[in-house]
Point group: C2
Chain length 232, copies 2
C-alpha cells in the first residue's frame, strides 16, 4: 500500500500518536482491498494474520458453535477489529464478514507487533483501544444477563436515538435478522418485541424507527450509562 492511499486511517486514535516512521512501516506492508457483500474475511480459530481496518461499508463479527451462530458486533468506518488477537498472536475468537461492499486495510499482524514493541506511544494507544473494547463487551454482557429481550430492544433503540443526535426518527442501521441475533433472540421474537413496544412510544415500519413518546420508552427501557453509554 502506498503512503497516501487511505489518509483517513492516520487520524484513528490508535494510529494518531505514533511515530511517523512507524506508521509508514505499518502502511508499507499493508493492503487496501475492496470486498463484495457477504464475503467471509476471517474465520474464528484461524491465526490472526492481519489487523483489519474498515474504511467504508460495514463488517459483521459473528461466532458459531454447534450449528448455532450469533452476531457479536458490527464494525463501521473508521475502526479496527481483532486487535486483541493480533497483539497476542492468538487465534481469532470471532469470524467476520462484509455486510455490504466494503473497503478494508489489512495490516500484517507481525508488523503491528513489531511496532508495538518499539513505539511506546503506539503501545499506549493500543491499551486505550483494548480497554475500550473490554468495557464494551462487559456492558454487552450486562445487557444480555440483566435484561429481557424487550428491554434490550428498547435500550438499543434509545442508543441509536442518542448517537443520532437525539433524533425522533431514524433508520435501523442493521437488517432485522442481524439485529435479532445481536440482541440474542430470534427474528420472530424480534418481530413480536417490536409490536409489543408500540404502546410504549416506538413505531417501526421497515427500517424506519419513529419514537412517538420518548418518556414512555425511557420509563420502560431504564437506560443506564453503565450499560448503554459506549463513550465511558
Amino acid at each position: 500500500m502506498r503512503d497516501n492511499d487511505v489518509p483517513e486511517i492516520r487520524s484513528l486514535p490508535l494510529f494518531q500518536e505514533m511515530e511517523d516512521q512507524n506508521f509508514e512501516a505499518l502502511i508499507r506492508g499493508a493492503y487496501v482491498q475492496t470486498f463484495p457483500p457477504q464475503v467471509e474475511l476471517i474465520t474464528e480459530g484461524d491465526p490472526a494474520d492481519f489487523l483489519h481496518v474498515v474504511i467504508s461499508g460495514s463488517v459483521e463479527l459473528f461466532a458459531a458453535w454447534n450449528r448455532r451462530q450469533t452476531t457479536m458486533a458490527t464494525v463501521r468506518p473508521i475502526s479496527t477489529f481483532i486487535l486483541a488477537a493480533t497483539i497476542k498472536d492468538a487465534p481469532y475468537l470471532m469470524s467476520a464478514r462484509t455486510m455490504e461492499k466494503s473497503r478494508l486495510v489489512l495490516i500484517p499482524s507481525m508488523d503491528v507487533r513489531d511496532v508495538f514493541e518499539t513505539d511506546s506511544r503506539f503501545a499506549r494507544a493500543v491499551v486505550s483501544e483494548l480497554a475500550q473494547c473490554y468495557r464494551s463487551v462487559v456492558k454487552n454482557t450486562k445487557d444480555l444477563k440483566l435484561r429481557s429481550s424487550i428491554e434490550r430492544l428498547a435500550n438499543y433503540i434509545l442508543r441509536i436515538h442518542t448517537t443520532h443526535d437525539r433524533a425522533m426518527q431514524f433508520d435501523l442501521n442493521l437488517e432485522k435478522r442481524r439485529l435479532a441475533s445481536f440482541l440474542g433472540m430470534t427474528s420472530e421474537n424480534l418481530s413480536r418485541a417490536i409490536k409489543s413496544l408500540r404502546p410504549y412510544g416506538v413505531e417501526i415500519d421497515g427500517q424506519r424507527v419513529t419514537i412517538t413518546d420518548l418518556a414512555d420508552l425511557e420509563q420502560l427501557a431504564k437506560p443506564s450509562p453503565l450499560i448503554d453509554d459506549y463513550s465511558i
Copy 2:
C-alpha cells in the same frame, strides 16, 4: 505499604517486567488490607480510585440493574481486577465483594496511570493483561448466546475438570447460587440442570462433583477451545 509486605505480587505478569523503581513507587502508595466475608469493596459507577490485587481469599464481581443482579466473574489469587477502569480513569462497570475473608492490595489508580505513562514495559504488560481480559469476556458472551443453560453447566464442569488436572472428582469452588448467577440462570434452574446431567455422566452431591462418564459428558457439552480454553 512496605516493600516486602506482599512479595508475591511482584511475580504477577502485570508487574514482572517493570522497572524496580517504578514497582517500588506503586508499592509505596499502596495499602494491604484484610476484609471479612461479604464486604462490598467497590460499587459500580464509582470512580476507579484503586487497582485491586487479590492476595488471598476470593472476590465476586457482579453487576446490577433495575433490582436484578448477576455475577460477572470471580477473582482468585493472585490476580488484579478492574484494570481497564483504572487505566481509562473511568467509572467501574462492576461492583466487587469478598466471598470469604480476603487479603487485598489496593494501589492508587493515579500511581498506576503515572507509571503507565513512563514505564513502557509496564504499558506492554497492561496490554497483555487487557487483551486477555477482553478475550475472556468475548468467550463468556459466546457461551451465553450460543448455549443452553444445561450446555453451559456441562462445559463449566469440564473447564474445572481441566484446570484441576483432569481429575474425575473435585469440589465446586463456588456456592451454587453464585454459580447459577454466573451461568445466567436461577438457582432452581441450576438444581434441575444438575439433575438432568446425571444421565450424561456427572454426579453432584453438595459441593462434590464426580464425573462418571467423561466421554458422555463431552459429547453433550461439545467443548470448544474458542469458548472454553481460557489460556488462549
